[in-house]
């Protein structure tokens, strides 16, 4: 059920066939490297890697359109905002000099490239990993199984609660509820109370029932937990892991050498 919600796109590409564990490791090291990369020259290779990674997933355009629309709006807004604040507030010289100085352009591009790389890497992870594999992957990476189970359970309940919200809205509307509110922001906020409260309260009241049902089936009795889907690392996974670790080491070393 949750596959319908989480934006997983089925496919046969190299990235689709990778083990979710190696993909998660890759995302972790990319985030680390992007955090440590302190100048444009260090961000460009990471950006190139994330573009190649995204391209290898061979995602169809018509299914990723909305993502790109969202990313492009953010990038456009932020890059213009960056460019003008850096150039006009901190720049020196005439207006033209301010706007065209290489420093202004570099410091406007770097953060946007960082953001774009992060977006590409995480979007590839989400698009190419079936949602039912996140929990087994984390469980088999050495995370406590209870933590992994929270993710499993949350993914299981998202569609349920979305449907519940729709049902509640319809039921309330059948009783004459019309979310209006007018221009007053406070009234608008209070207008959604009849919708938010019943769903939240009924969901939080069901917590103890779910917990009891799980405990009756023996959840939490054993210290270890096995997963139905056993994951295996292929050659491609090992390659990706090697790339991730070496990138991580390289950027940590570069960052430390800059500090020293």
């Amino acid at each position: 059920m949750s596959t319908r919600f989480i934006r997983y796109i089925e496919g046969e590409s190299v990235i689709h066939r990778l083990d979710p564990r190696s993909k998660l490791t890759f995302v972790f090291f990319m985030v680390l490297c992007l955090t440590l990369a302190y100048k444009l020259l260090l961000v460009i290779p990471l950006f190139a890697i994330s573009v190649i990674y995204y391209a290898m997933a061979k995602l169809p355009w018509n299914k990723t359109k909305n993502t790109w629309k969202f990313i492009l709006i953010i990038v456009l807004v932020l890059s213009l905002l960056n460019y003008f604040t850096v150039a006009l507030v901190y720049g020196q010289g005439s207006l033209l000099e301010k706007l065209t100085s290489p420093r202004a352009i570099a410091s406007a591009i770097t953060p946007v490239l960082k953001l774009l790389s992060l977006a590409l890497v995480t979007a590839t992870l989400v698009f190419t990993t079936p949602p039912n594999l996140y929990a087994p992957a984390l469980g088999q990476m050495g995370f406590p199984y209870k933590a992994a189970y929270v993710i499993q359970l949350a993914l299981r309940y998202v569609p349920e609660f979305t449907a519940e919200l729709g049902r509640t809205l319809e039921a309330q509307m059948a009783r004459g509820f019309r979310p209006r509110g007018g221009k007053n922001p406070l009234a608008r906020l209070l207008a959604i109370v009849p919708l938010v409260v019943p769903v939240t309260i009924s969901a939080s009241l069901s917590i103890y029932d779910i917990a009891d049902a799980m405990e009756l089936r023996g959840f939490g009795e054993e210290r270890c937990h096995t997963w139905y889907r056993e994951l295996r690392l292929s050659r491609g996974d090992k390659l990706l892991l090697a790339v991730s670790y070496s990138l991580g080491l390289l950027y940590v070393a570069l960052f430390l050498s800059k500090l020293a």
């Binding site: 919600f5 989480i6 934006r7 992007l34 990723t64 993502t67 932020l78 905002l81 604040t85 850096v86 507030v89 410091s107 406007a108 770097t110 946007v112 960082k114 953001l115 992060l118 977006a119 890497v121 979007a123 989400v126 189970y149 929270v150 993710i151 359970l153 949350a154 993914l155 309940y157 998202v158 349920e160 609660f161 919200l165 729709g166 809205l169 019309r178 979310p179 209006r180 509110g181 007018g182 922001p185 406070l186 608008r188 906020l189 209070l190 207008a191 109370v193 919708l195 409260v197 939240t200 309260i201 969901a203 939080s204 009241l205 069901s206 917590i207 103890y208 779910i210 917990a211 799980m214």
Partner: protein, 186 residues
Amino acid sequence: MSKKGVFSTSSLVAMAVGTALYAAFNVFFNILQLPGTQLVSLRPSVAIPMFFGYVFGPVVGFVSGFLGNIISDAISWGGFWWNWDVGNGLLGLIPGLAYYFIPRDSIFKRRGYIACAVLAVVAAVVGMGFAAYTDYIFGYGISTIEEATYALFLPAAITDAVNGAILTPILVAAYAAAVKGRARRL
């Protein structure tokens, strides 16, 4: 019967339910824009992690906000940004601190409601502050502190503070009314 603890079965389920609710609300408000409520009540759902933090403890609140934001981001556009997820986690963690300084029998009394509204405001400021300024410190998308303050921090923190401070006490009060008379449902 579940033992009381951070990782008891009921806390784990509370984390999962909070996460799923937060994600479902975000998605729902994204897909289905209610007439008349767009834009201003940007994310009324911030009250969910705050409510879960206040009632079930800081860890449950943190996980609800953090995971809920990852999942709702993954659903609505496909990827996620870790520092905004941590910021959303803080939205749930800080109201949860009431766990340590308000006695459990008075969280559903007037003093508790006031503390919960105040903590919601603090949470909005700290959580969104964390997200906006880590964007600046690590250079994700913005490069000056002015942008972090005026373009990210102020709009996010103010709307979240207003939403949280109003909706969280309402949710807590409704929960208190619903659990009245039920044993061990606190």
